[in-house]
Subunit: 333 residues, 2 copies
Amino acid sequence: MKKLVNDPKNVVDEAVAGFGAAHADIVRVSLDPVFIVRADAPVAGKVGIVSGGGSGHEPLHGGFVGFGMLDAAVPGAVFTSPTPDPILAATKAVDGGAGVLHIVKNYTGDVLNFETAADLAEADEIEVRTVIVNDDVAVKDSLYTAGRRGVAGTVLVEKIAGAAAARGDDLTAVATVAEKVIGQVRSMGVALTPCVVPHAGEPSFTLADDEIEIGIGIHGEPGRERIKLEPADAIVDRILGPILDDLPYASGDKVLLFVNGMGGTPQVELYIVFRRAAEVLAERGIEVTRTLVGNFTTSLEMQGMSITVLKLDDELTALWDAPVHTAALRWGK
Amino acid sequence: MKKLVNDPKNVVDEAVAGFGAAHADIVRVSLDPVFIVRADAPVAGKVGIVSGGGSGHEPLHGGFVGFGMLDAAVPGAVFTSPTPDPILAATKAVDGGAGVLHIVKNYTGDVLNFETAADLAEADEIEVRTVIVNDDVAVKDSLYTAGRRGVAGTVLVEKIAGAAAARGDDLTAVATVAEKVIGQVRSMGVALTPCVVPHAGEPSFTLADDEIEIGIGIHGEPGRERIKLEPADAIVDRILGPILDDLPYASGDKVLLFVNGMGGTPQVELYIVFRRAAEVLAERGIEVTRTLVGNFTTSLEMQGMSITVLKLDDELTALWDAPVHTAALRWGK
């Protein structure tokens, strides 16, 4: 294992400390317990939004803390749910008196620990609502998950819910718009290589030199099938088909097309993927009106990508376009 | 070789087409010859800025085309200089009557081809000035290069020169501020793994499982030495020392600290590197007033990073902070 780390046990602490030092204009960080909050939290009268989950998916979630998106992010150990304590601490830190929304990716540990933290926060008289993101159409039930997994669509939920909170929506309204995004977003991914969790020191799975995993999870959980490597366009067709058939998306729909890198895939490859995905959508009469391309929900250094499609309407488009100022997404400010 | 590509010969064309489709609000692309220009080019009365070089370093340079940065980027084949023809075409496409600045990384092929294109443009009565970026302190003379190589510091030159052009500086003034940045920026990198050029199909060099290359070039050119893998902090110390001693940077200096990922390194590792780099600068009394962390000048899927330090003054800080709207850097708009 070759990584730019010191003691593998300290990866998250040191990365969070570095993140706080690099982005002190946007966030402040707590190292005990570990969480990242907006520099100006809590914002009085605004719904607070907290997300979190295992580390190793950066910039998710810490990179999305700031104006117009998350108020706090709670990173667990690499690929491991954060415990209730830091989630509770983050929830308290962002409570501006209007309640707090928890955005949780659908993994059993995350769901349980956020639920415990929400119960403890309610006991402290902070109103908490929770939404569960489950956009991955690859498999139903998986390693770590009952039901569908939450993957890159989470970024879109966080951006749009964050914009709703920033414009002054109350807790019910913010939760409602988050649920609307969850209802209209679907994703699926592919891995070309595994990744190595620092404290494990070896790959969590193996793939032959000519093999790829269709429907991979963001922790390397099994997908639908292993196949021989194919041209990029054929791979795109394999994963975009099930996405589009699932909702289903229909001719005339306007969508946000998001091509997400898993961490180790060069940007030229992501744009080759985008090119074909846009072509397929055009063939089906689906109009791409917003786009996002890059490493936003990663699996450490895994090579691969996922495609996410969000059906837009005027409200979601306006919330997507609204100003955001975070380390990883920034516009309009 | 596992990559998300179709025919390796078409990697650049397909990636550029995908880039144009994804960012049609910011750029338009030409595929014959291949170049990327601002959607609203040419901007009448503004100095045009063109950069370019071999593909495989994305988002450099296409990701920096847009308001407040580059007017055009000319991508060659992967790790191969663009020929004079597309450079000339891009230069003409951005000529708004105030002349054009070429920002060229110091590689022999790039320098020659930009020079030929500049001569042809001058014959067409477009005034061209050229600046050569040579920020890499690792080695003097290298594979592909006489003198120092141009690496990630190029991003800072492009941003700051772009801001100068956007505020209305004339060609001499824009070239002067670009030269000022070049005079005050230094970089050095490290590789943990090689990368594979798609049309070559195999790694351009090899590193043992416990070996890293200190002072790597962005095409995998040899650096200063190969050593056994060390903790991240020790690696940072090895490359930051020569950077700081070179200018030299001194106690009381204000700097922009830029930790650049080579493509395949997870973000947690980049922030572990940032943490130590900021610590070293603080120990030397150097104040970090601006930061940049992420994959901005990559070498395909290479694992590794580089550190860049730019000495700031009020003018450079204001130009760095000025609005920019590109695919890869965006703020204030």
